[in-house]
């Protein structure tokens, strides 16, 4: 346990009883989770278990049906619009599908938030974009392409560059390494760890890749049937003693989790 978090006692993000249903399909059913400041948290769970929905609730993109979300001890669901926008200024997000703006060239995508906040001029944005693109292993010339001209993995990396360019305080990565080759995956993992160390940011990642989860996570949590069923150290993944988590981390067919038809 990190002493600072101990002293404050206040987690960066605290979820209590978070619930969300789409129609009569309950996706989240009372999620409780604490995320420590300045650490990497990895969220695991089967496909369709509600990981992306959880993150979108924290970001204010989906309104939960019940429960509370606190960031830095403040209830975000009770915030006014202005306050919420100020909070969002300090948060970065990599969407699962990249969600790049296809009407804008890559460099404008990367520097979108800096431009929106007027922290940079359009003239300086190209150079800044080249610098951030280099961090994700892309050449400066990629900046002049349009997102539609990139491969899936390149789009993911541009999305990553866009998420970290404004140096946010909290960053969400929805499957940052899915669709990347193993070496590039390791490079991106290194980058995420670096962002946490260098910026002191809090990183919340969703991943299905256990090697990656151990690299980028200090803590890990597993979501199953709408609830958090386990939290612990990411390093322990694979032999946590929890049969659900161990089966999931080792990718075994036999175990308490049976493949079920998802609704």
């Amino acid at each position: 346990m990190d002493t600072k978090a101990h002293v404050d006692g206040v987690p960066k993000i605290r979820l209590r009883g978070l619930s969300k249903a789409f129609g009569d399909k309950k996706v989240l059913d009372g999620v409780d989770l604490d995320i420590r400041a300045g650490h990497g948290m990895v969220i695991l769970g089967g496909s369709g278990s509600g990981k992306s929905v959880t993150i979108k609730c924290i970001l204010g993109l989906i309104q939960p049906d019940a429960g509370t979300i606190e960031i830095d001890g403040r209830d975000v669901l009770a915030m006014g619009r202005r306050e919420r926008e100020e909070l969002n200024d300090r948060i970065g997000m990599l969407f699962q599908n990249g969600a790049l703006f296809d009407s804008l060239p890559v460099w404008e995508n990367v520097c979108f938030k800096l431009l929106a906040q007027k922290r940079i001029t359009r003239g300086a944005a190209r150079d800044k974009a080249a610098e951030v693109l280099a961090q994700v292993g892309l050449a400066a010339s990629v900046g002049d392409l349009s997102p539609a001209e990139l491969s899936g993995g390149m789009q993911k990396r541009v999305g990553l560059a866009r998420a970290i360019a404004a140096q946010p305080d909290i960053i969400f990565f929805d499957e940052p390494t899915t669709g990347l080759d193993p070496i590039m995956g390791a490079v991106i993992d290194g980058l995420i760890v670096d962002v946490v160390k260098r910026l002191g940011a809090t990183a919340v990642s969703i991943t299905h890749d256990m090697a990656s989860a151990r690299r980028i996570g200090d803590d890990a949590a597993m979501i199953h049937r709408g609830k958090i069923v386990w939290t612990g150290a990411a390093a322990a993944l694979g032999n946590t003693g929890n049969p659900l988590v161990d089966q999931f981390a080792r990718g075994e067919r036999e175990g308490p989790i049976q493949m079920e038809l998802r609704r």
Binding site: L59, M93, Q96, A99, D102, F112, A116
Partner: protein, 258 residues
């Protein structure tokens, strides 16, 4: 369930909810006109898209409309020995009615569809959510500049349509119907009143608002992947076309006394 009164009640209620939501959507978009930041770059892009790139379509339809109008009214008036009124009928019909309606219907097909498709795609690929996480209000960035561009571009297009429509009538009048060129133009101008043109331009501004609003609204709330975006696009074009014709009557009624 079998009670028809309840079914009608439900339908009316849901229609009211829909209209209420649309009005709130429009009001929120308009409220961003007053609060910075302003996205001038977006506005200019859409202005060019509507005003400049619709010019060929609008020009062609206006010319042909004027030509047909001259021919048809001549056919009718010749039976009363009133051929002299052709120029007047052409200019009145074009400025008050056909210019605004035909130009707007053409733009509804082009722009309503393209706005709904673009915003709808942004919705289903999380780009609208991404805007929110990138310190940008999606209504302010996507909707407000489009509405403003529509309200400004349509009167311009209709002014062009008015001129070209009259020219189309003049072309047929002088080449086919045996009118004297100067006489035809003089008859056109002598008869025209300011209100004829102004009422057409006011209609155009209203239609520009309707087209862009329906395009944005249908796109903004589209869901369900490519199919949903397709449905939103169809919905935008159909609903704005109907609204244009319905509002055209309402506005004509308002200007009728003049």
């Amino acid at each position: 369930m079998l009670n028809p009164v309840a079914a009608i009640g439900r339908a009316v209620l849901s229609a009211c909810r829909e209209v209420g939501a649309l009005v709130l959507f429009a009001l929120e978009a308009l409220s961003h006109l007053l609060r910075p930041p302003f996205y001038a770059r977006q506005f200019l892009r859409h202005l060019a898209e509507i005003a400049y790139f619709s010019l060929p379509v609008v020009a062609l339809t206006a010319i042909f409309t004027g030509m047909v109008l001259a021919l048809q009214s001549y056919t009718g008036f010749v039976r009363f020995n009133a051929e002299g009124a052709v120029a007047n009928v052409v200019v009145l019909s074009i400025t008050r009615e056909l210019g605004p309606v035909i130009a707007s219907l053409m733009v509804a097909g082009r722009i309503g569809a393209s706005f709904a498709a673009e915003i709808g795609t942004m919705r289903v690929t999380d780009q609208i959510d991404a805007l929110t996480t990138l310190s940008t209000n999606p209504m302010k960035y996507l909707v407000t500049p489009r509405l403003l561009a529509g309200v400004i571009a349509l009167p311009f297009l209709v002014a062009v349509a008015d001129i070209l429509g009259v020219m189309g009538g003049w072309l047929i009048g002088t080449t086919k119907l045996g009118f004297n060129s100067a006489g035809y133009l003089k008859a056109t101008l002598d008869f025209l009143e300011v209100i004829d043109v102004v009422s057409g331009l006011v209609k155009a501004a209203v239609f520009g608002f309707v087209i862009t609003l329906m395009g944005c609204w249908c796109g903004y709330y589209s869901k369900g992947g490519a199919q949903g975006v397709g449905a939103a696009t169809t919905m935008a074009v159909v609903s704005s076309s109907i609204l244009i014709l319905a509002l055209d009557y309402v506005l004509t009624e308002m200007f009728f006394a003049q």
